[in-house]
Symmetry: C2
Subunit: 245 residues, 2 copies
């Protein structure tokens, strides 16, 4: 039946989706090609353009993106370590699947580290970053009212990025970024319904206020509250999405 078509179908869709995502970097010489490929593939995975489990073939990707296999290989290796791709030696790479267990794992770690971020940020935030934080919060609130889902998601991510950066701990920043990718995928994959933006706004405000007031414990508590609710909500969505199938 359609079983026969399936292969060609995937290929077609794949082909149609990629080229526009790959920026022609003729002007910017200094960026290595592998980095461009990496960012391109990463974005495609994060936004669900490449489905979990889909195979990432070097030659095919090379043809599509117009490069040789070498930069593709290196990009895929990097994606593997970011957890977005799983490689089985000798066989090849696939887009990593995201399971409920993964979410659980990430959320447990993130809950703890978000608290740490908030605590440290409230102790160390610079005057400059304070302005940035206020702005990020305003942008978020604005986008919940007038923006589309993508804009909301991005402003949300940015809000948390500012806090993470304000914590002034590179390692923490790095770890948080790695987990943010996974969470982003979940959101993109499962969350279609309207979030309860009013709650989110209140929670963000609470975190914001505590950090600006330089109140570490309050900040940590607000962060914990936020992430726990988030976790619960995403889990709910996940189960709803499952039961629909």
């Amino acid at each position: 039946m359609s079983e026969q078509k399936k292969k060609k179908y995937n290929e077609k869709e794949f082909l149609s989706v990629i080229p526009e995502a790959m920026p022609a970097q003729d002007d910017q010489q200094s960026i290595p090609l592998r980095e461009t490929v990496f960012l391109t593939l990463r974005k495609l995975i994060l936004t669900g353009k490449l489905d979990p489990g889909e195979r990432l073939t070097e030659v095919r990707l090379g043809k599509i993106l117009g490069t040789s296999r070498t930069p593709i290989r290196e990009a895929i290796r990097k994606l593997e370590i970011e957890g977005l791709v799983t490689i089985t030696p000798g066989s090849g790479a696939r887009v990593a699947k995201i399971t409920e267990g993964d979410l659980q794992d990430v959320m447990e770690v993130r809950s703890t580290l978000d608290q740490l971020c908030a605590r440290l940020a409230s102790q160390r935030i610079s005057e400059e970053d304070k302005k940035e934080l206020i702005k990020a919060n305003e942008t978020f609130e604005y986008s919940t009212k007038f923006g589309n889902e993508q804009e909301i998601a991005e402003s949300d991510v940015h809000f948390h990025e500012v806090i993470t950066r304000a914590a002034g701990n590179r390692r923490l920043d790095q770890v948080m970024n790695g987990m943010a990718d996974t969470i982003y995928r979940f959101r993109y994959e499962y969350i279609r319904d309207d979030l309860h933006y009013e709650e989110l706004i209140m929670e963000h405000r609470a975190i914001c206020r505590a950090i600006l007031d330089r109140d570490p414990e309050q900040a940590a508590a607000a962060a914990k509250d936020h992430i726990d609710r988030q976790h619960e909500f995403i889990l709910g969505q996940l189960r709803k999405s499952k039961s629909e199938k």
Copy 2:
């Protein structure tokens, strides 16, 4: 003066140190060469055989390890993400330097996550892992009495690995491993004096007991106590080592 000699000198020492570290993997076919190279270089960096700041040239490493440049490149990319190597595009790779700031960063994050590990482990540890934990603890105590520094360090690392694994959170495991590398480098670089093994033993016992008793809060507290002391001690060593120069 000896400025002129310096380059050649490094080269020589480098050449002499590597080959014995690279296992001849003629028997085991299934492991990719890049993985072997990766592990080899990783070990050399962790144990200080390759100095911080030292340049890692593809061709040279290829000659020394007897492989082409391709596996070397891929191993280096992986090392970069692990934080053991810094790459400047177009220029090449160097062994990453470790600063006091790095230690501070890692310790802050690790303090939090160690508590999480202990807490989760005490809730989730299996009967099998309980035995493993007890054994790891005994091995550690034994090695502090009869082993050399390397053995002590390794049994210490293993003790914490068991706990981390018992926590049953892959993401946590992964993050902890990444940080363990950095800490290991510090220990190897700066810690020559005898540690206060009696204290360490007592602290390990406390953690062990709390986990076996399935007491999350106690476990977290014991872990925090342990890591904070460790941090303090390493910092002290670091400053002592600095003032000696």
